[in-house]
Amino acid sequence: MNETALPRAKGVSLANPVRFLGLSSRVLPVLAVSAVLCLGAGLVLALFVSPADYQQSEAVRIMYVHVPAAWLSMMGYSLMAAASAVGFVWKHPLADVTAKAAAPMGALFTALALITGSLWGKPMWGAWWVWDARLTSVLVLFFLYLSYIALWSAIEDPVRAGRAAGILAMAGFVNVPIIKFSVDWWNTLHQPASIFRMDGPTIPAPMLWPLGVMALGYSLLFAAVLLVRIESEILSRRLRGLRHRVARAELAGPT
């Protein structure tokens, strides 16, 4: 069997890794530059332009780092679960690769959210950590990310590892709505939703805009690094296939 070519999938043109590599090499510079610009603009807005809070004064500026990181941690897991579902149902060759690439970054954003939240909690709540519903469920999300990554590295065959980890990602997805609604369902110390609410955001516009720009910057950064990771995963699988070919040729003996 030809191990350097991935099986063809009907319909979606990006299934061909060569075509994907071509597309991503064109898109990546755009994404990277816009990520840097967005993050730069966002940081300026967040740190200098946006107003200080009437209660929290300058400490509120941690929000511009903490909240987008938390959003991205949930979106990263959702991406991972969706990609796993696509791989499971349609056997798209790049679906499992996308999920694998997204996992460590999602874990890092979760860790960032937890750490910045802790730094924010100490001056605001007086404690580095409380076991309230949202913090606990985000910590559980972090462990789900870690177990996903551990399962990938524990199984040798990449295709089988992808399927197994995909089942795990889909099973753990139940945690994401729990995180979202935890501040409504339980009596928590963490602030309830002020942006993604049925009645619309309650946060004032001068704070909403920098938050939006930072979130966009984080997302562009995520997308750029994701593309790099997918590229490197495709290339490393190619390398693996080539190594197998060489090994098999050597076994067949010198001609």
Partner: protein
Amino acid sequence: MSPGLELIRWELAQAFRAGGSGPMAVAFFAAVLTLVPLGIGPEPALLGRIAPGMVWVAAALASLLSLERLFQGDYEDGSLDALALSPLGLYGTALAKALAHWMAVALPILIAAPVFATLLHIEPQGIAPLMIGLLLGTPLFFLIGALGAALTLGLRRGGLLIALIVLPLYAPVVIFGVSAVEAAATGAPSAPSLMILGALLLAALVLAPPATAAALRLHLE
């Protein structure tokens, strides 16, 4: 006897042999709960506050013990392939094994739990919610645990990985189980938490065996 019941009967016989998972799990449960007052001190008020949590944690860990061997033996000697081809199928196998191990491990724990909870000075009105909660929660431990065992089938040091996969998924079960007991201790109704546990159990009964079967199929290919 139908193939499913036959499998359950066989698994139960295996579990209650000497060194099987049944007696070992109860012994582990008792040992953990004996360590608690040794570590925390004998003060009754303090022990009574943490008793529900400790009983739930000990039950979760005892369930975790037997998971590694859930499918391993059958996978190694090829019986899993035979079960996959049988009328029972992998779905029935997953469900039957989870239920059998639940009966073998959790039913003795259910008998030991009120004894140890009383030894840990639990509030008396908390015992009933504790028992009902464990009755609903321990099958959840085994349904979720079977998924973890199926995902890590055939791996070296799979036991550690099973724990890492399964414990985050156990967290909601433990949270609701303990909140039921704590509600009873303060006089609030414990029925809401218990009903949520029941809902989780129903969802897991429907969703976990197919996922486990899919994971088993992966390793049989």
